[in-house]
């Protein structure tokens, strides 16, 4: 691992296992950034006096990995048609997304995060589409995000078939992938079962669900109400299932994790997670469920592995991570300073589109953009008086950028 900026993790608590992220190429800057995400989540909730910091803390490596190393997206053009879609089905953990929008350059600012869950802020309690740039879907009712993501994956296939059916696999802007982060609650709600059954039948290989299995819900240990073998259930639906276990000795219930000393065995194997995610993108015959076994709120010493059962005041003190695990200053490093200079900084908002495996396809201009009706924006009947009586055939191939923005009809 390159150590371009060793001071960035100089103050990190040595008792906390460093994320294993050699193959994905994380530097000290990345580790520092992920730690910063955890602090920001805790601070935001502490500042607001209410909210859900735990998942945002423990899923910081996952969220960071998705936004920095996995998803194809362009923060400078949030509506770019070819972007991967990110669905935070665990909408209560909105900070998981907000902080990544901040770090990756979607226009989210630190002040927005400070304004979490307040009137007029860009950071409402649960993510809201059309309200916060970079948020693709309103989530919060558990299961709804996952189930809607199945529709996104179906639509992706239909759109490709309509507009770019002849492109080689992976070469079309319509080949985007749908990434879902789901919680125990999402997997309990019936609608996710319905939708996952449908997704398996439809062989939606463009869909990956990361299930954050932390064995904690509002009534604490999920053993009280949820004990099925989720992996087998999804295998039966026709999904590819694999497990990435960060819990170490923490075992299969909240109690076990709480009894543990909580530091040594918990290991964030980002490389294993990254491999599972990348493999899911390459898969062509079925959707993927990655069961990521975590300890909620890790590494906060007293909040981890517990449910928020004692009210906001208590939660504020409990969720605060140990100060010693971060560098000496509480002030988070700005995004532009955290990434090593040798690495492209997608979060700075540059126009470069992140593609997996360094495949920096510049679809615009590199090949003819897909044939599509220029006026085809879903509002055609209103904007095009002739739409009712005349088919609108796909236009000739053009090198003009294919953008989804609504524009006046020209057919």
């Amino acid at each position: 691992m390159s150590q371009t900026a060793p001071t960035l993790t100089a103050g990190r608590d040595e008792s906390l296992t460093r994320p294993i992220a050699d193959e994905v190429g994380w530097t000290d800057a990345d580790v520092r950034a992920v730690d910063t995400v955890r602090v920001l989540a805790a601070d935001a909730v502490q500042h607001a006096g209410h909210g859900h910091p735990g998942t945002a803390m423990s899923l910081a490596p996952l969220a960071y990995l998705l936004y920095q190393d996995v998803m194809v997206h362009d923060p400078s053009d949030p509506h770019w048609l070819g972007r991967d879609r990110f669905v935070l089905s665990a909408g209560h953990s909105s900070l998981t997304q907000y902080i990544q929008l901040y770090l990756s350059g979607y226009g989210m600012e630190l002040d927005d995060i400070k304004a979490l869950r307040t009137w007029g802020s860009a950071t409402p309690g649960h993510p809201e589409v059309h309200h916060t740039t970079g948020v693709e879907i309103t989530t919060g009712p558990l299961g709804s995000g996952l189930a809607s993501a199945v529709g996104m994956a179906m639509a992706q296939r239909r759109q490709r078939g309509l507009l770019d059916p002849d492109a080689a696999p992976g070469e079309s802007p319509f080949d985007h992938h749908v990434w879902v982060v789901a919680s125990d609650g999402d997997l309990m709600e019936g609608v996710s079962s319905e939708a996952s059954s449908l997704a398996g039948h439809q062989e939606l290989s463009n869909l990956t669900v990361v299930y954050d299995q932390n064995f904690i819900s509002i009534e604490d240990d999920t053993d009280i109400s949820f004990s099925e073998d989720v992996a087998k259930r999804y295998e039966a639906y026709g999904w590819h299932v694999e497990t990435v276990d960060w819990r170490g000795r923490a075992g299969d219930s909240g109690d076990a994790a709480r009894a543990d000393d909580g530091t040594g065995p918990y290991t964030e194997d980002v490389d294993a997670l990254h491999a599972a995610l990348q493999a899911s993108r390459e898969r062509t015959d079925r959707p993927t469920l990655v069961i990521l076994r975590t300890v909620i709120a890790w590494p906060a010493p007293t909040a981890r592995d517990t449910a928020p059962r004692t009210g906001p005041r208590s939660a504020r003190t409990r969720s605060r991570p140990p100060r010693s695990c971060w560098a000496s200053t509480r002030r988070p490093p700005s995004p532009s300073r955290t990434r090593s200079s040798s690495t492209p900084a997608p979060w700075s908002g540059g126009a470069r589109r992140r593609t997996p495996g360094g495949r920096s396809a510049t679809w615009r201009g590199a090949r003819p953009t897909p044939r599509a009706p220029v006026c085809w924006t879903g509002c055609r009947p209103r904007s095009c008086p002739r739409a009712w009586t005349r088919p609108c055939p796909p236009s000739r191939p053009t090198r003009r950028a294919w953008r989804p923005a609504r524009r006046p009809a020209r057919c």
Binding site: I137, S144, S148, M154, L198, W376, R382
Partner: protein, 363 residues
């Protein structure tokens, strides 16, 4: 022609001109008439069936018996942004979809619901399948348009208006049973549907003394009552009100034109609960509604037994005219008919031995 059938014909006609339009049903394609004729199904290669040939890029969606997932998936399709999705099931099962419908409205997604079998008019399947409170409950969702056309022509205009709506969801409530295709050479053109409510039949012989407001399959009852009232020399206007939300969106002058403030004698008729109609019929108005669950029988019997008839509408009209003159009570607390007209009751009285129960031990 049943409005569900008209809807199916509209969809088939739209297929070649709106390639972005696609959808399907939760295992009720034949009943909901949601399949565009001849369009391939959206299924992975190798999973097509004899009844539904298709391929991975197909157009007809098959959600299976998964209404909730259908609703959520429709949201996801709409969020992708390039296509226009619709999904169908029985109106009763909008309950299974409700969280998704609410999220569609919250997210301002132009999803279209094709909900058929929209009242006791579905008949023999009985009260488990007959919507009663659903229209009112759906109208309660902010940002959802609930559209209940009266005949085939209204259905076509409803589809057109819905497809021109791009920033929120719309729901079609369609009949299973046949309804008469109204004679537009005598009545107003169906284009009025786009305004939510319109004067379908104008009063004859003077200014209207009473306005009858009907939706969907009950518009014909209002027209039948009008015939009776006109025969008695009561100038009677009939308003078809397929979409309350669209009507509410009209300016005051149009609404006053359709429902003149001076005409306080008004009757609404809809095969569902009265909730929401008082605000249109006013203090002197009467509401012909259904305040209890349905029953298993042919639809003609149900409408007759439950008092949803042209006679009942005409009777209510006369009462409302009296009320407007101060000769009858205003804003009666319950709707008319208040209860089933004979021993038939489905008001949930099983504890008292339920009059419909065949279990002698409960008598």
């Amino acid at each position: 022609m049943a409005t569900r059938k008209a809807s199916g014909q509209v969809l088939t006609a739209l297929a070649p001109v709106m390639p972005e339009l696609w959808g399907g049903s939760a295992d009720l394609a034949g009943s909901n008439n949601t399949t565009m004729e001849g369009e391939p199904s959206f299924v992975p290669d190798g999973k097509a069936t004899e009844s539904f040939p298709g391929h991975r890029y197909g157009r007809t969606l098959h959600f299976g018996i998964r209404e909730h997932a259908m609703g959520m998936s429709l949201n996801g399709i709409a969020l992708e942004g390039l296509t226009r999705p619709y999904g169908g099931t029985f109106l009763i099962f909008s309950d299974y979809m409700r969280p998704a419908v609410r999220l569609a409205a919250l997210q301002q997604l132009p999803v279209v619901y094709v909900w058929t079998h929209d009242s006791i008019g579905l008949g023999e399947d009985g009260p488990t399948h007959q919507p009663v409170e659903h229209l009112a409950a759906l109208r309660a969702i902010p940002g959802l348009d609930v559209v209940r056309p009266a005949d085939a022509n209204e259905t076509a205009v409803a589809w057109r208006t819905i497809l021109e709506t791009v920033d929120h969801p719309s729901a079609l409530a369609l009949t299973r049973q046949n309804v008469p295709t109204l004679d537009r050479s005598v009545l107003a053109p169906a284009d009025g549907v786009a305004r939510g409510g319109y004067v379908l039949a104008e009063a004859e012989g003077g200014d209207p003394q009473v306005v009858l407001i009907g939706t969907g399959s009950e518009v014909q009852l209002a027209l039948g009552a009008r015939d009776q009232l006109q025969a008695d020399g009561v100038p009677t206007r009939v308003v078809s009100m397929p979409c309350r939300e669209w009507f509410d969106a009209q300016d005051q002058s149009y609404r006053d034109e359709v429902l003149p403030p001076a005409v306080r004698a008004r009757v609404s008729v809809e095969a569902g609960v009265a909730q929401g109609w008082r605000e249109l019929v006013g203090d002197a108005g009467r509401i012909v509604s259904l305040e209890h669950f349905g029953a298993s029988a042919d639809f003609e019997t149900l409408f007759r037994e439950f008092g949803l008839t042209a006679d009942a509408v005409a009777k209510s009209a006369r009462e409302s005219i009296e009320a407007a003159r101060g000769e009858a009570p205003s804003a009666p607390g319950t709707s008319d008919p208040q209860e089933p007209t004979d021993d038939e009751s489905t008001l949930g009285d099983a504890g008292e031995g339920g009059t419909r129960s065949t279990d002698e031990t409960q008598k």
